[in-house]
């Protein structure tokens, strides 16, 4: 029987999924999670979110088995519901992720500003980050899956080891390690912390776009669960370690550290300084490399996936035609790549000028939760609509798990945005604005594009 020359393994898929999800913004979000619960109990919220994300991954596993295409979420929603719903929601989801790259660039820049005092301004690093990721994509330079696996292993080993060292040094600081409901409003705080923890796993489902590169569909399902487990170990340990080693007000940027600097956008830098003590310089070099690798893999994967999505939409006449231009030398969708880099750069500029980068954590968490609800509903709808369609992977304990997943994530969405904090409401406004723009685009622009 004929075979494909190149196929991805579950290990590569798990490394890719974890790599997509791992970004510097996630460390900031991990601190936000810790800040919502009493004592040192944020790790419980991180683990709880992982369990629910595994439920969502089962839904994505069934859908990507039915439709193993890089167009992913758009196909699932279109097949379950209709095109008018699929286009704005999937495009809004993609653009929210792109806009969040601006926030990642801001964090990336602030890390290097702190690491190299008197060096270039934040703008230099922001532009450098997008220039490198944009150039890699423009020229079609691929990071081989072996290299990606190695980078992911190095990043995760570094974080796990540093977290364990920090817990050994400072782990006795808290009495409350096990009761996230203690104190006033503890239950509400814990629920919001679980919801926000979903951000930490945001992107694990992007590996469904790789289903065309696998031979057996269970590779994607196993890979997604693998990436969730990797991220869960790293972020739960890091959450407990950060809070143990660094005063909470310093981590969140409410107070300056003894060096007079605010570390709200780069909590891992002050964490590394404290944990490494006399070996601070060595730790900071590690932190710099970690930040660089994490942001670059995140930018690179983000631009790679979204540019192809935008290209495909343009080919389908649902986005302007120029976005389907292919570079005649490098065979890449260069117009889509440049457009996305510009959108992300504008987002970074706005954030750097106006502040409030943490709102994007909520916007992306909201977009992800919305997508998990849609995935669960799509599974339910398609079980009725396409009974005979081949399903290489089926959601275990159906329909209970799918119904529970849809209800749970819907409640989580409401709960997250019920919070009246300014960063939460700004995050909600960002998400709703992007959805509104895409709905208007679907109603008014797409009919014109289709007529051309």
């Amino acid at each position: 029987m004929a075979e494909l020359k190149r196929v991805l393994t579950a290990r590569s898929v798990a490394a890719a999924g974890a790599g997509f999800a791992f970004a510097m913004m996630s460390i900031v979000a991990d601190v936000q999670v810790a800040d919502l619960v009493p004592g040192n109990t944020g790790w419980i919220a991180v683990i709880a979110a992982a369990v629910f994300c595994i439920l969502a991954s089962w839904c994505f596993g069934e859908l990507s088995g039915m439709f193993p295409t890089s167009a992913g979420v758009r196909v699932y929603i279109q097949q379950a519901f209709n095109e008018k719903m699929a286009i704005p929601l999937s495009a809004a989801y993609i653009f929210t992720v792109v806009a969040a790259s601006g926030a990642e660039a801001y964090v990336f820049g602030s890390v290097f500003v702190a690491l190299i005092p008197g060096g270039p301004s934040i703008w230099f690093y922001v532009i450098l980050g997008f220039a490198i990721a944009g150039a890699l994509n423009y020229f079609g330079v691929e990071i081989a899956s072996g290299v990606q696996n190695m980078l992911a292993i190095i990043m995760f080993l570094f974080l796990v080891i540093v977290s364990l060292v920090a817990l050994y040094q400072f782990g006795t600081r808290f009495e409350n390690w096990y009761n996230p409901f203690a104190g006033e409003g503890g239950g509400e705080g814990f629920a919001t912390a679980v919801a926000l923890s979903v951000f930490l796993y945001a992107g694990f489902e992007w590996v469904t776009a790789l289903s065309e590169e696998t031979k057996q569909q269970d590779v994607i399902s196993r890979g997604m669960i693998g990436s969730i487990l990797i991220l869960c170990i790293v972020y739960a340990l890091l959450n407990a370690a950060l809070v143990s080693a660094v005063p909470r007000d310093v981590l969140t940027g409410r107070e300056a550290w003894t060096d007079g600097l605010l570390y709200g956008a780069r909590p891992h830098v002050v964490f590394i300084k404290i944990v490494f003590g006399p070996y601070e310089t060595l730790g900071l070099i590690g932190a710099g490399l970690l930040s660089f690798l994490a942001s670059m893999t995140s930018f690179n994967a983000g631009i790679l996936t979204t540019s192809r999505f935008l290209y495909a939409m343009s080919r389908d006449k649902t986005m302007p035609r120029y976005l389907s231009k292919i570079h005649m030398e490098y065979f890449t969708p260069h117009a889509a790549i440049i457009t996305l880099c510009v959108v992300a750069l504008v987002s970074a500029i706005l954030l750097t000028m106006l502040g409030g980068f943490d709102s994007f954590t909520y916007a992306v968490a909201g977009a992800e939760i919305m997508m998990y609800v849609l995935a669960a509903l799509s599974v339910i709808k398609l079980r009725r609509k396409m009974k005979s369609r081949e399903r290489p992977f089926r959601v275990p304990l159906y329909p209970l798990t799918a119904i529970f997943s849809a209800i749970f994530f819907s409640l989580l969405f409401v709960l997250v945005f019920a919070d009246q904090k300014i960063e939460v409401q700004t995050g909600f406004a960002i998400l709703i604005s992007i959805i509104a723009v895409m709905v208007l685009h679907t109603v008014f622009i797409i009919p014109r594009l289709k007529k051309k």
Binding site: T69, A209, E212, K215, D316, I326, F331
Partner: protein
Amino acid sequence: METHMSDINECLKAANDFKDKMNDNLKVRKLLKRWNPLIHFDTRDSDIKLSFGMSGGMAVSVESGHVGNAELTVTFPTAKDLVDMFYGKLDPTPMYLSGDILVKGHQADVIKLDAITMIIWPEK
């Protein structure tokens, strides 16, 4: 799933027509000069299988059956869709985006495949 000889012949004829169109198009040849894939086509409603070989910007072979290890496999819903795509009567992009056409292979190669149809039939 019954496949008649006439269906296979029609598919081969359409694939050869597509091959000629590709080879006559200078833009395609320039674009694909460093792409040398073997592509397998099949359909869900028949046993029709085709192998489409490319080298140095030219389509070099069209054979019945799946020969060798491919870079890409493309599955169409019906043999008619496959024939229509080769003749340029069917735009494969919407069918790909709706999950009706399934592709296995590297994502970068999928764009290349799509670009061929975009260049040969720019208005589609």
